[in-house]
């Protein structure tokens, strides 16, 4: 069970949160212009990295806010948490 530092509420137990998959996959602005393959890329393709991964998390049983998390999936170390809309760190 991780301790997750919700950017709005502070540190809480993991059971208050829901994982929401890979972060920074933007919904295409003009889906109708996309080919089947391009749309499938957005719809289905997700990375599953052993190592540092960018993820979306939701404080589902708290403030209900979504935020981003950088987590090392090999040891569950949470490296960074930042709000939705903020740019991912380059390093």
């Amino acid at each position: 069970m991780f301790l997750i530092n919700c950017p709005y509420c502070g540190e809480r137990d993991q059971h208050e949160f829901k994982a929401g998959g890979e972060a920074h996959i933007e919904r295409p602005k003009q889906p109708t212009e996309l080919s089947d393959d391009e749309w499938a890329e957005y719809l289905f393709m997700r990375k599953n990295i052993k190592g540092v991964q960018f993820e979306r998390w939701n404080h589902a049983h708290g403030c209900r806010k979504w935020f981003n998390m950088v987590r090392d999936t090999s040891n569950d170390e949470i490296k960074l948490i930042y709000k939705m809309g903020e740019k991912p760190p380059s390093e």
């Binding site: 069970m1 991780f2 301790l3 137990d13 829901k18 929401g20 933007e26 919904r27 295409p28 003009q30 889906p31 109708t32 996309l34 089947d36 749309w39 499938a40 719809l43 979306r56 939701n58 589902a60 209900r64 806010k65 979504w66 040891n75 569950d76 939705m84 809309g85």
Partner: protein, 1001 residues
């Protein structure tokens, strides 16, 4: 006359307090402070159980939680019975009854013992190899295998005890209260850190507290005397909480640990009543200090499992701590100095030590000299090659080891003895460390795996970190503790410690015998009867990964998880395969460290608290009117209301008929309700539903279908425009929370520019849905002021009204196809609204109907239920609901997916109606549909999703999904059942009132 086996007065045993107990039906007594194991040994009972596979007689081997053999069933045939309990951990109490497991008819004469005789035919993988063929025989094999599997008996009666869960937050958690743990906890607490110290035993002090090593001195006192004073001092320390009988089961990420605190297992029955039996502690610690100690290793030699063969440290603990000797003639067998401590301890109590067998060439430590000075014969460079004695050790055979340790030479020396204390060195208990994600490294010199890389704020101290000597423990602890806790000093920085240094080492994982290995039984895993022979066989058969060898031979898979023998298994594999142990690695250490009861895991969540129930404000009325409930998500929904003597079918038929013929009333409070406000609310709805919302007038309602981005139907419901920027969305009962979550997700992450706010109001409103041709008259009686004319209040519109000064929202919407109203009122008035409706409807025979009749009524109309007629693979087009997809909107969730090649396939499963040739035959939901009967393999076209007998149409109706069903109108299909084939034809899914005339009736 009984032999005198209680030889010493121990401060841990209260000899004034006799405790009587039964073992295998026979009465014995021990003293308060005894474990079942020590009390049995004091009564000269060594034969405690039978082994799992060969049913070999087994006795107590250890004095702790690592015990593989002495597993007992406690209090059999009572409501508190528990299987596989380690006799070494059971504290005896008046009235305790324990019995042997895995033997029939009894532990002294066990029919299963025949397995021992035929053991050459039961090699590793016996079951895998034997029961593979013929495949059709599996059912017969399974019966036999299940019968012979398992050790104890699981409880059959309801557990009378209460279990609890508790959260604990602390600065420092110290696991293990041996000398290292006690010093660490004391110094942490003294530095203002909130500290919790836990230990699985009932007494603090670990091994040091009784194990007075002859030449170990702290501050010129015996180490146990010194430690006792430290323990005395713990009471007065603020910030320090100590929990005994508390075993840490699991160590998860972020220093989250689960521990089981045992509160009543040591009490007699009358004192157990009304107390919490066990408590699961959920501990979140800023820092964790593991002081879990080390486990003594057995030695792996031929027939090393007989009752009377024990760990050397256990022999010592039974003598020193419990005052019990384990035999009259004891021999020790060792590869290190610690067995000499045990030998000297017995000798000093006047107990005869026949000999010490040492596989080393020599040792010049003081303790060895002291033992040799007593005249005890030491056989250097010798090994035990065999043992005899069926139910109790009688004799051992000893031979000289060759220089390389691979074989034996010379003649057999026979030594008569009834107890053999063996010591193969010590294994640091790194279980919790590795559970937490820590990485081990192998110390080649000492042949131990040690913590190397810490994954979180933790350290391992004492012997679990490879510090086996007291001076080492104290010196390293002083330094490491200061670094770890960031403190200036400890109160033991400068204490003087004298020790006796062990210099000579020799390790042989599998000791040779004069017999070929095929004829020997060197047990590695005692509980699962896995021998070195089995491990070697697995390697010969091509298994290489340690994880595979483990599963094939079942080594380390018992309830003790191989605490004793796993290292030897690794060593034997490494030696046989010619790889280094460090490269081979270990099997995964998984929680729990020692078994947990189910009661501890579930805590209070049993019986009526097993799951959360949500009940509507009308719940009491439903119960008074003899409702049968249906679980829908967490909700208790009225399913049907049987009148006297009515079956479910009869009730549902009656309710469905009444709703169409006069009036019905449904509790619809469970539908999800989301209040949507904001200047972009209309635009938001446009994006989340497939149809258009901008032009919906204030006061009007509209049905909407919500898709996933993959184009599949996700939820549906009616949304009402309450104001310019204000909507009330309803969702399915089961989907409410997920829909809100999904909408929030889009709002926050994809469309943050939209000014929209979502609030769940499901619990805030109660909803009564009144339907049927007389619904208008009933509503008129309740709310006379409301103009119910079609002009003023048409279908799919909304009015806000007052009912006795309480604001209500009335929607004229219908899920049954009848003229119908949904009245929403503040939840606290829900029951009174409902009773008003019932009262007003009396003259029209208003009939409460449940979810089953509701399903039937909507099926007559061909209305779908998301989750029943859809399963996450149905698009609106598959549902023949093309009309609900806006052609004008540029985008909505899932739109693009409706034009993917796969979703446009003509042969997708599509929703159709089915009617049976025989109108009385009702189909089974889930039944498969085919078009050919004599095809092999037969093609499954689809399945029945909803099926009912319609009382209003007087025939059987069904909805189904069928491949290409859209173009099959009228086609004959077949539904093959176990005993018959049902002929059906594809039909329009709208079976009743196709023109919707009744909505305005």
């Amino acid at each position: 006359m009984q032999k005198k086996l209680r030889v010493k007065t121990s401060e841990y045993i209260d000899e004034t307090n006799r405790v009587s107990f039964k073992f295998n039906g026979k009465s014995y007594y021990g003293f308060k402070g005894d474990t079942l194991a020590s009390a049995l040994l004091a009564n000269d009972v060594h034969l405690v159980g039978r082994s799992f596979k060969y049913h070999r007689p087994r006795g107590v081997m250890t004095a702790g939680s690592e015990e593989p053999n002495a597993l007992v069933q406690v209090n059999d045939n009572t409501d508190r019975t528990e299987p596989n309990v380690r006799a070494t951990e059971v504290e005896i109490y008046e009235g305790l009854e324990a019995s042997s497991q895995n033997c029939w008819p009894n532990v002294n004469f066990d029919i299963g013992g025949v397995n021992n005789v035929i053991s050459p035919f039961l090699p590793a993988g016996f079951y895998y190899k034997t029961f593979m063929w013929p495949a059709s025989f599996w059912e017969k094999y399974e019966y036999f295998i299940r019968h012979s599997a398992g050790l104890g008996k699981s409880p059959r009666k309801k557990d009378p005890d209460v279990y609890d869960h508790k959260y604990i937050h602390c600065d420092v958690l110290v696991v293990g209260a041996g000398i290292a743990g006690i010093l660490a906890a004391k110094n942490a607490a003294k530095n203002n850190l909130k500290t919790l110290l836990v230990d699985e035993k009932n007494e603090l002090g670990g091994a040091t507290i009784y194990e007075n090593r002859e030449f170990n001195k702290i501050e010129n006192q015996s180490s146990s005397d010194w430690l006792k004073k430290e323990i005395q001092g713990l009471k007065d320390i603020e910030n320090l909480e100590v929990k005994t009988r508390t075993s840490v089961a699991a160590y998860h990420a972020y220093n989250y640990l689960l521990a089981r605190e045992n509160l009543t297992d040591h009490l007699e029955k009358k004192d157990k009543q009304g107390k919490i039996r066990q408590r699961l502690l959920k501990i979140r610690a800023k820092k964790v200090i593991l002081a879990t100690g080390a486990l003594e290793r057995p030695l792996i030699f031929n027939n090393n499992d007989r009752p009377g063969i024990m760990l050397s440290s256990a022999v010592k603990k039974y003598a020193d701590f419990y005052g019990v000797i384990c035999g009259q003639k004891t021999v020790f067998f060792t590869n290190n100095d610690s067995a000499y401590e045990s030998a000297l301890c017995l000798h000093n109590r006047g107990i005869k030590v026949e000999a010490i067998i040492d596989i080393r060439d020599n040792s010049d430590s003081k303790i060895v000299k002291a033992v040799e000075d007593t005249g005890i014969k030491v056989y250097w460079s010798h090994t035990v090659v065999d043992t005899s004695g069926y139910k109790r050790l009688k004799n051992i055979s000893v031979m000289k080891l060759s220089n390389d340790g691979m074989s034996v030479t010379g003649n057999r020396i026979e030594i008569s003895c009834d107890c053999l204390g063996m010591s193969g060195g010590w294994t640091p208990a790194v279980h919790l460390f590795t559970q937490s994600g820590g990485k081990l490294s192998f110390d080649e010199e000492n042949k131990v795996f040690l913590p190397s890389k810490y994954p979180s704020e933790q350290i391992s101290i004492g012997s679990c970190n490879g510090d086996f000597k007291i001076n080492q423990i104290i010196k390293n602890l002083s330094k490491n503790l200061k670094d770890f806790l960031k403190i200036e000093q400890t109160d033991f920085d400068n204490i003087s410690v004298d020790i006796d240094d062990e210099k000579s080492k020799r390790n042989i994982w599998l000791l040779p015998s004069d017999k070929p290995i095929g004829k020997t039984k060197p047990f590695v895993d005692y509980q699962n009867d896995a021998t070195a022979k089995d491990i070697k066989l697995a390697l010969r058969e091509g298994f290489r990964s340690i994880e595979h060898v483990k599963r094939y031979t079942t080594t380390g898979m018992g309830t003790d998880q191989g605490k004793l023998g796993n290292m030897h298994a690794l060593g034997i594999i490494a030696d046989t395969a010619g790889v280094k142990m460090g490269d081979l690695g270990t099997t995964t250490f998984r929680p729990p460290y020692t078994p947990l009861t189910f009661g501890t895991i579930v805590g209070r969540n049993v019986g009526e608290y097993f799951d959360i129930f949500r009940r509507t404000p009308m719940n009491d009325w439903h119960i008074q009117n003899k409702v049968e409930f249906e679980n829908v998500g967490q909700w208790k929904r009225g399913w049907y209301y049987p009148a006297d003597g009515e079956s479910m079918h009869q009730a549902v038929q009656r309710e469905s008929k009444a709703a169409r013929e006069s009036a019905g009333i449904l509790d619809a409070s469970t539908l999800g309700k989301i209040d949507i406000q904001g200047s972009d609310a209309s635009e938001f709805l446009n994006r989340v539903y497939t149809n258009a919302w901008s032009k919906l007038a204030i006061g009007k309602c509209r049905y909407g279908l919500m898709l996933n981005e993959d184009g599949m139907v996700y939820d549906d419901g009616v949304t009402t425009r309450l104001g310019e920027n204000h909507y009330l969305m309803t969702t399915t009962t089961g989907g409410a929370a997920n829909v809100l979550g999904k909408l929030e997700d889009y709002l926050q992450t994809e469309w943050p520019e939209l000014n929209v706010y979502l609030t769940s109001v499901t619990d805030h409103y109660a909803t009564a849905s009144v339907c049927g041709p007389n619904s208008k008259k009933i509503l008129n009686k309740i709310i006379p002021d409301l103009d119910l004319s079609d002009e003023s209040f048409p279908h799919m519109s909304f009015k806000e009204v007052k009912l006795n000064n309480v604001k209500c929202r009335v929607m004229r919407i219908s899920f049954t196809g009848e003229h119908s109203y949904e009245i929403n009122i503040q939840a606290s008035y829900g029951k009174s609204l409902w009773e008003k409706c019932i009262e007003a409807g009396k003259e029209f025979n208003i009939t409460p109907y449940g979810t089953e009749a509701m399903h039937l009524l909507r099926a007559e109309k061909g209305f779908i239920i998301v989750g029943q007629d859809t399963d996450g693979t149905m698009t609106p087009i598959d549902l023949q609901m093309d009309w609900i997809i806006s052609k004008k909107k540029y985008d909505f969730i899932g739109k693009r997916s409706l034009y993917r090649s796969d979703t446009m396939r003509e042969d997708r499963k599509q929703l159709v109606g089915l009617v049976t040739d025989d109108p009385k035959v009702v189909l089974e939901e889930g039944a498969q549909i085919v078009s050919e009967l004599n095809q092999s393999p037969v093609e499954m076209l689809g399945h029945v999703t909803s099926s009912y007998y319609s009382p209003n149409l007087k025939k059987s109706i069904a909805l189904a999904v069928v491949k290409g069903g859209k173009n099959m109108m009228g086609k004959k299909l077949f539904i093959p059942m176990e005993d018959k084939t049902i002929n059906v034809s594809v039909a329009n899914p709208v079976f009743f009132d196709e023109k919707n005339k009744r909505l305005n009736a």
